[in-house]
């Protein structure tokens, strides 16, 4: 461990947890003058089994749905105490705590204009309670509540475009990131922290347990998601989508099948070429919209 590590060893995340790596990267950029309000989910459970904690910064456990509200309270309280200067206030939450149940608190925080950086660790399902589908779960992924079988081929419906919905609130800064692009991720966290007002970063966070892939592949899968165009790296200041900046364009896009092949949650798709073609078409259209 490096001597200045703010997220220390001994946490109970599964071997290879992409979210744990993502948290380390965020805190390396945020530094010690940071307060985190953390929604219930894997991250909270794995880091704070009483009486232990893996955090070396002030950290507050929020409920599943209200990380943004708790962070709002911290922001206002520090102002009232005259201690707001030089402190980063962050909200951490999973995709369930952001796209679904925490959405109202998040939208309210954005609208009130708090000086908060909200980071969603997107592992594309409710992992902490046993891999239930979420509005963040991609089409056809098999989860325990969207099991691929004779009736349905995995999750029905699309992945909610959370970062676009957040940016539509016309906030200071919105970005997407992965752990396979650490420089890009850290630059985006820095920009988010330096923005006046609300900022939001969605970090793609591979989960070996929920996605069913070997634990050594979390970084490789993040890279594959970007190289296929399934996950696009972008940033935006304000709410005008004409100003979106793609921060990394794959030189040649890989077929989406290469990404599916590595994960048990998509195994059933390999026998359904028409479904793979459907996703490929949607990804092609999305990338065309982004201009690549």
């Amino acid at each position: 461990m490096a001597s200045d590590e703010l997220f220390v060893s001994g946490h109970r995340g599964c071997a290879g947890c992409g979210m744990a790596t993502a948290v380390r990267m965020v805190l390396q950029e945020a530094g010690p003058n940071t307060i985190v309000a953390n929604a219930t989910g894997c991250l909270e459970v794995m880091t704070t089994g009483y009486p232990e904690t893996a955090w070396k910064i002030p950290w507050i456990h929020a409920a599943f749905e209200n990380a943004a509200a708790v962070a709002s309270g911290v922001d206002v309280a520090l102002k009232k105490l005259g201690k707001r200067e030089g402190v980063n206030v962050l909200a951490f939450a999973g995709d369930g705590g952001t796209f679904d149940i925490g959405f109202q608190a998040l939208s309210g925080m954005l609208e009130r204009g708090h000086n908060i950086t909200y980071v969603v660790f997107d592992n594309e399902a409710y992992m902490n309670t046993g891999i239930q589908r979420c509005s963040s779960t991609p089409p056809y992924a098999s989860t325990t509540t969207s099991p691929a079988g004779r009736v349905i081929p995995g999750k029905q419906g699309k992945k909610k475009p959370i970062s676009k919905i957040v940016a539509a609130h016309d906030i200071a800064y919105t970005a997407t990131a992965t752990i396979a692009h650490p420089k890009d991720l850290k630059t985006k966290i820095k920009k988010a922290l330096e923005s006046e007002g609300p900022s939001f970063v969605q970090i793609f966070s591979p989960c070996p347990t929920g996605w069913r892939f070997p634990s050594e592949l979390s970084v490789k899968l993040s890279k594959m998601a970007v190289d296929t165009g399934i996950f696009v790296l972008w940033e935006l200041e304000g709410g005008n989508f004409d100003n979106i900046r793609i921060t990394y364009k794959p030189k040649e896009r890989k077929p989406v099948e290469e990404y599916f092949k590595l994960q048990g949650r998509f195994r059933h798709l390999l026998k359904m070429p028409e479904k793979i073609a459907e996703i490929q078409r949607e990804v092609d259209e999305k990338c065309a919209e982004f201009g690549f």
Binding site: G10, G16, T47, P51, V219
Partner: protein
């Protein structure tokens, strides 16, 4: 902390270090120190903060902290020496001895 504190407030930052996750390992990464090229990719990507980073200036290789390494294998997968076909591997995955 013997008693449950008011509001379950935890006053020992970083106390998860008391819990050694190294016992979870079934496979283990092993370093050949002279092959390390100090890129620190293993340190960058480790989910368990279990790598002490290399120092390129003093040519000090990384060190793996087996008290906490869970044996996920990300370091072996991402090691730049391993990825370079012209260089000998710095990290290798081997079965944990019982």
């Amino acid at each position: 902390m013997d008693k449950i504190t008011l509001g379950a407030v935890n006053t020992e930052p970083g106390s998860s270090l008391n819990y050694k996750t190294g016992s979870w390992r079934t496979m283990k990464p092993v370093l050949t120190p002279e092959n390390c090229i100090f890129c620190n990719m293993c340190w960058e990507f480790c989910p368990d903060s279990a790598i002490e980073p290399a120092d390129p200036k003093s040519k000090k290789p990384i060190r793996i902290d087996y008290d906490y390494c869970k044996g996920c294998g990300i370091c072996v997968e991402e090691c730049l020496a391993n990825k370079n076909a012209n260089l000998p591997n710095a990290l290798e995955m081997v079965p944990e001895e019982k």
